[in-house]
Symmetry: C3
Subunit: 146 residues, 3 copies
């Protein structure tokens, strides 16, 4: 049984929805050691978020951004506007998607469905680089797990 924790940084990206599965997996090679476990991937910000969705078509990611623009609009009765028109919508979008993903690990890999990929949702125009904390927990491939 083992626990490990890994701080990783995702480089600055423009506002929008970005596929980051392989970038995250490559930065946490320790997950290859786990036979059964969970990967908890946590973004330490309140204006960017993580979700799981379709990993093939870029249209899907573009359409997410269009939906956000219509249903969490900048032009709204916000009072918290000091940090820019994109700030308060970013906070609401961040909670709608959520700050964390808990993903199953099987035989050293994330046990995602065929079409599932990790999206970094950057809700600010200039959010800068984003800091993630990944916590791995599971039974090692080299020990018996009852």
């Amino acid at each position: 049984m083992s626990w490990s924790q890994h701080r990783i940084t995702l480089e600055a990206r423009p506002r929008g929805v970005h596929l980051v599965t392989s970038e995250i997996v490559e930065k946490v090679p320790q997950l290859r050691e786990l036979r059964i476990g969970l990967a908890h991937i946590f973004i330490r910000h309140t204006s960017a978020s993580l979700t799981l969705n379709e990993n093939a078509s870029p249209d899907v990611r573009r359409d997410f951004e269009t939906w956000f623009g219509a249903f969490v609009p900048e032009d709204f009765a916000w009072t918290h506007t000091l940090e820019g028109a994109d700030d308060m919508p970013a906070h609401v979008k961040a909670s709608l998607m959520g700050p964390a993903l808990t993903l199953p690990i099987s035989d050293g890999r994330l046990a995602l469905g065929t079409w599932q990929g990790i999206y970094l949702c950057e809700h600010r125009d200039r959010g800068g680089s984003r800091s993630l904390l990944v916590t791995l927990n599971g039974g090692s491939r080299h020990e018996h797990v009852e």
Copy 2:
């Protein structure tokens, strides 16, 4: 301390929100062995999702579907339309609800509130059967857990 992982299949259901608590619990009898733990229930799809909500009135589940239809509409500026009018809304709804539930286990049972039940949200008209991966982790009822 133990880990186990269980693939389960939920039969095809029509578009809408379906209560599946007892179906899931029956398919994972291993959770009865855990004194304290967590059940991670993961759907391996991007057009169906899992959430927790009111387990009594079918009206609540119907009203969820009505809300989805109004606030994640089919008639919208989607560009990803090749797979049908219900596809892109399904992706957005799936991320709004989320692909996983992590639920506490106490004394061999899911420690849900009185009114809480697991909803399978089927966002496609013909989504087919849905594949779930359940990961259980906890302290056994037969060992001392410090």
Copy 3:
């Protein structure tokens, strides 16, 4: 390696979004014992929810409530209205935010970002006190965790 589970009660609050980080942390002193781990914070209700967002400006919390009022409105084609106009919107909002937070623990503290705080989202006008179940799991600070 240890597991523990703690029932805590949050006192009744008016409808709206409330910052409860320190209240929760103070009620679960056991998390100080964990070197690496996860805290699973679960609300046992279907008309209140938990999310993580900006811990400084009260405007942000007020604006969340304004957004909810516009995009999950009381005046809508709901059929489940027996329990009051605020009930069915509360159910939808609860699933949008979610019933649980899984948060990383590092060196005996929640490893939140600088601006992150735990929000209790009270979606009912008179929701009463709210019951939470916190499950802690991790490696103790007094043992070697491989």
